[in-house]
Amino acid sequence: MTKRTGVFVCHCGKNIAATVDVKKVAQDLAKDDGVVFSEDYVYMCSDPGQTAVIDAIKDNDLNGMVISCCSPTLHEKTFRDASELGDLNAFQCEIANIREQCAWVHNDMDVATEKALKITRASVRRVQHNQALEPIGVPVTRRALVVGAGIAGIQAALDLTDAGLDVILVEKQATIGGNMLKLSETFPTLDCSQCILSPKMVSVSKNSKIKLMTESEVESISGFVGNFKVKIKKKAEFVDPELCKLCDDCTPVCPVAVPNQYDVGLTNRRAIHIPFAQAIPASFTLDEEACLGLDPVVCGKCEEVCDVGAIDYDKKPTVTEEDIGAIVVSTGFDLYGMEHMGEFGGGRYPDVLDGLQFERLCSASGATEGHIMRPSDHKVPKEIVFIQCSGSRDPENHCAYCSKICCMYTAKHATLYKHHVPDGQAYIFYIDIRSGGKGYEEFVQRSMENDGVIYLRGRVSKVYEKDGKLKVMGVDTLAGRNVEINADMVVLAQAMEPSKGTAEIAKILKIGRDKDGFLAEAHPKLKPVESVTAGIFLAGAAQGPKDIPETVSQASAAASKVIALLSKEQLAHSPTVAKVRDPYCTGCEMCVDACPYDAIALVDGKASVNEVLCEGCGSCAGVCVRAAIDVKNVTQLQVHEMISAIMA
């Protein structure tokens, strides 16, 4: 049967028509075999454009359709849906991309028109061999995994359980809460960070639908949207959180002291410790690397003093496999390392701090119980310098991007400083002040007017120690003069970067990262919480620098996407899966070995495809020497037809 194929060539306003002679493409294709309808139209994706598709199918009794327009990632679904409305099977409609892959990248009209014609003709030849397909229904596991339990992960998990879903919340650290738990107050309202976060943390621990796994990491994943299988590795749980009654008898006897990462290294902690008073799970935990006593002959002191017998050195790491329907990745950020800021004395002078360390100094739960004092000599700093864009907006040396939150948190830091040290003076070096957000600009203005913070527009070239002071050499570009400040303390507003381990989790989950290493969204504007992999969503600073309100919004958005996905009775699995042409199969098993999904097995001496497991990658077709296995609608015959069309 010869196909009755229809072609539409889209102008996309001037986007395509400026460099491609769309009329010529449509007219030339009208002469091709099997093409019974070929027209151009100004905006195919508009309502009249889609109606034209439906009408063309009905009026011309079409059984194949090619829309020559923008990338299929944008409108393949649009036109397949329109085809269905015209009673043409969705898989009989194909997109020829003549915008991104042609009109936008060439400027010679003749050349671009010729290429557009080839691209469209290749799609026509392909569609003439397409077969009608119906999506394969697969069951859905109504359970979500949230990776990373900072404020993003916590919010997503709580929203998911509100919709009745079961959640596994995985966190690498010993407590949930992430970076927000380290903060003192939050801009622009100055409400206490722990006060607004800890109720949510407690809700997580009391929620029977959340299975919380701290000190755990995702090890591997298999399966597909709606039906993932995830292996989660949990470190050995030496302290049983059910038994631990937080008496704190264990820490005084522990002989080991290591820098406390929860205090950003400002204090030391014992090998056995509780990260914060607000920690969830509310339990002490034993740092395996620091502890001497895993061999009880060496130490074992904490076990001896623990009345309730909560400590057991013989515990082993566990790996569990969980069935999961969808995943939210919210692995957060780290601050760009101080060691990169040699010119500011970062990592060298104890009184040069990063933003998170200053948060710990201001926090009532921090080492100084909220008194701002110099780590070196515990004196109250009377002059303090804040340096913004430290590591940000510097493509030559550091991160090219703006870290977005530093303008605001530096204004907050300066304000908090003045609240703690009313007779002190705060200086802020800045490039620009970016204070877009509700109440943000007013907050910055208040810090200048009410708290007398001196803003100096310019960069700092050097910070060095002299006579017990930190000499800050900078420039005030507005006054056109050099500035030297003898400061007692310097705080660097370090850039945000993806948390350590982001690269690994991206690799494990097969989700992309952008040029700066943050997790990549599927579309920068229209799919800001979806990853490129179906069923995996993104939330929080792992996707890009953002503040708490934005993080919470994105987390709720990701959760609502998961809820919508998992509310379906069945999910549609793409029917473009592999199919064996039995008479040609010799049972050589090359395809069985090549398949990354174990979707092919030998049945009665012939390869047989499990359509639910098959993802349609075509690895099998690429290795079959007899061309006996094909991916439906991208068959080897179709590819050869496309090559012929291009080379004609």
Binding site: S71, P72, T73, N97, R99, E100, Q101, C102, A103, W104, V105, H106, N107, D108, V111, A112, E114, K115, K118, I119, A122, K507, K510, G512, R513, D514, K515, A520, V532, T533, T576, A594, P596, Y597, E615, G616, C617, G618, S619, A621, G622, V623, C624, A627, V631, V634, Q636, V639, H640, M642, I643, S644, I646, M647
Partner: protein, 148 residues
């Protein structure tokens, strides 16, 4: 060698390239080149395939047989394959294809593989432009082209 007509031929010769792009990385990368309006040679016509691993050696031979001067296969970076390991499969297999082409007397430079991620629009444009320049030097491909 300094035949003037030959020089003219090199300048006017427009190589024809068939470019197999994997759907997830390289096709998306070429989309990004478009969105970024990066201009590059129009000599390569793309065919989007699910994965570089799905490329049968027959596709490459078929393209040369039909008159292609060069064949490009572009996939995700090693380790980043959307289908876990398809590009490793492609790399192993296509290395052998290169050997085969050489064995049958075709310049192996006419067949090229590249790794272009969805974030590398500029790289995609560079890959195409470089390939076109190299093929201009090699001239038209007649070794495997079907006789009319």
């Amino acid at each position: 060698m300094s035949n003037p007509s030959k020089t003219t031929e090199v300048q006017s010769f427009e190589p024809r390239i068939v470019a197999f792009l994997c759907k997830w990385c390289s096709s998306a990368g070429s989309d990004l080149a478009g969105v970024s309006r990066i201009q590059y040679s129009a000599n390569a016509t793309p065919i989007t395939i699910p994965c570089s691993g799905s490329v049968s050696p027959m596709y490459i031979l078929s393209a040369f047989n039909k008159g292609a001067d060069g064949v490009l296969i572009s996939g995700c970076h090693p380790g980043d394959c959307h289908y876990m390991e398809g590009n490793y499969l492609a790399r192993r297999k296509l290395y052998l294809v290169k050997e085969l082409l050489q064995f049958i007397g075709l310049e192996s430079e006419r067949f090229r593989m590249s790794w272009v991620s969805a974030a590398e629009g500029a790289k995609f444009a560079e890959v195409v432009d470089e390939f076109v320049e190299d093929l201009r030097v090699l001239g038209p491909q007649n070794r495997l082209k079907a006789k009319p």
